[in-house]
């Protein structure tokens, strides 16, 4: 009734129904003021800490000068100058190569080895032993990158354990400065990543395996399938959807997979050609040299690539009729 009278009062129905909607909204809001008090301060926080920095993207298209600060409209525009500069810069192309190689190593090893380890852990029958192995395998994941880097340096130093072993076994005569040889860096990176994260990466796969119907294993055993066959034909297909979803997510995060901490902490002047990746490049150019525009252009490029990768991996999975993210 009330609604009708409002409609007769004003000719446009679209506008007229609005006031009641807004009124209803505000009366609800007042009624739910406790919920508003509990959430809106954090939305303001979110705006300041997460959305405000988005304006900084304009810096990539400008010759940023600190004297204007946040008045980005007063900065001098540069168009795609910084992006063009990046792709003509030999150093950036090398940085890009390092990022892709390290990310690839981490993605492939991190996925394949974690699945193999999860399959083997799943076959352990002594449950206490299994728990102990799992607990120990998670440990490196919780240690900080600084600690991990320190441990790696300790093992690899010229008078460290690895060199001592190689000398004793007669492979070399003098200790090698492993971190000083660029060609070794990717191997060191890959091994450290596996050491640190493989145990942790198995958790999701193991959780997925508990969902596999136990009667399948019994049926396979009656049919004479051995342990490897059961792993290959039952466990693995059982976790296939999880593997694919994780793979898509990881491909979306591919450029993050090259890590920042480890290459930065283990990097030095001697292996820089192999250890420097995009994040380190951004840090060096941006924070340390003050070239904010160029550094921001590099990080925008990284974000764009991540989006493209995420959407293409998702659509490929969709076309193959597999589980997908969205």
């Amino acid at each position: 009734m009330e609604n009708q009278s409002v409609i007769s009062a004003s000719p446009s129905a679209g506008v007229s129904s609005k006031p009641t909607g807004v009124k209803l909204f505000f009366s609800k809001l007042v009624k739910q003021r406790a919920l508003v008090v509990m959430s809106i301060p954090f939305v303001i926080w979110l705006f300041i800490f997460s959305y405000l920095p988005l304006w900084g993207w304009t810096m990539a298209f400008q010759h940023y000068s600190p004297k204007f600060g946040f008045r980005f409209w007063e900065q001098k525009w540069a168009g795609l100058y910084h992006f063009r500069f990046l792709f003509e810069d030999e150093r950036f192309l090398r940085v890009l190569r390092n990022t892709l190689v390290m990310a690839g190593i981490n993605l492939v090893l991190g996925t394949v080895l974690a699945i193999i380890l999860a399959l083997l852990l799943n076959e352990l029958r002594q449950l206490v032993f299994k728990r102990v192995v799992q607990t120990i395998s998670y440990l490196p994941y919780f240690l900080s990158w600084v600690v991990a880097a320190s441990i790696v340096q300790n093992i690899l130093s010229p008078d460290g354990v690895l060199n001592m072993l190689l000398i004793k076994m007669g492979f070399i005569n003098d200790g090698i400065l492993f971190l000083g040889v660029g060609e070794y860096f990717w191997t060191i990176f890959g091994s450290t990543m596996v050491w640190k994260e493989i145990g942790w990466n198995t958790i999701v796969y193991l959780a997925a395996m508990t969902m596999v119907d136990p009667s399948l294993y019994e049926a396979a055993e009656i049919d004479g399938a051995g342990r490897f066959k059961r792993m290959w034909h039952i466990s693995l297909p059982g976790i296939k959807p999880v593997i694919i979803v994780l793979l898509i997510m990881n491909i979306g995060w591919l450029l993050e997979k090259s890590g920042f901490e480890l290459p930065y902490l283990l990097g030095n002047g001697l292996n820089v050609d192999y250890s420097e990746n995009i994040d380190i490049f951004v840090l060096k150019f941006g924070i340390q040299q003050g070239n904010f525009s160029l550094a921001t252009a590099a990080s925008i490029f990284k974000t764009l690539v991540s989006f493209v990768l995420l959407f293409s991996a998702n659509s490929i999975a969709k076309r193959l009729g597999e589980a997908r993210l969205f």
Partner: protein, 314 residues
Amino acid sequence: MSEIAANRKPTITSRSRRMSGDQVFDLFNIAFMIVLVCFTLYPFVNVLAVSLNSPADSLKGGIYLWPREWSIANYQYILKNPAIYHATMISVLRTVLGTAITVFCSAMVAYTISREEYVLRKFVTVAFILTMYLSGGLIPTFLVMRELGLYGSFWIYILPGVIGVFNLIIIRSFIYGLPDGILESARIDGAGEYRTFFNIVLPLCTPVLATIALFTAVGQWNSWFDVFIYNSQKANLSTLQYELQRILSTSSAANSGMNAASAFARSGDTSANMVTPLSIRSTMTIVASVPIICVYPFLQKYFVKGMMVGGVKG
């Protein structure tokens, strides 16, 4: 009879062979796991051995599993060094404060967006979820933080991480999973939003909040990058991890031991010649990891559960 026996025989042998194949598999599997455990622990054990070895002797190298000359000189040095002690205190403070604030605030926001009738529910949820995909990146964030006056301040350790979107999703799906009617009956009994949250939701969410507390605490304790970016000029806000990082960066492969020793110049210590950078680095590595080693196994039950809850309903 003989026919039956002849029929039976091969099945028995094939079954026993299969059994032994199974056992061989188990044996190899267990052996593999033991090797894996050794490889996982060894690098750490080696550092521990160096930290417990006499500093001068460690320089000769060749310490594998066990200290050659037992010594607690390194630990004594660390305990007496005021800079390292102060850094440890800052680490503890940021861990305790940061974890408490993050867990409480995340739970509160998660509760509001779990309430179906909340009119701003969609808005709040989307505002948070979007930030998972949009990030200003290092430089713009740095500039905003500086503008906010967080450069060179303790609060840079706490404020940027007040709410994690992932935590929010995990807690929200946990609240969804609570038995139907618990929250309803509280409301019928006349409990307001605050009371429902404090007296019912918070206690019921203990498992998931424990998980989140663990991850936040580990993250806080382990972080060094924010110290490095924002507070590297402020010696009194340095943390244990950052002190370790400074030693690492000065003793990295390209530099000689001379530089490493100068890492202690800032701490103004004169007894630095007693210990070596190598032994100090090892000892600080151990000190920085001990709290983690003590805490994480106990919460294993929770974090596996919590991750699964989060995984079911992203």
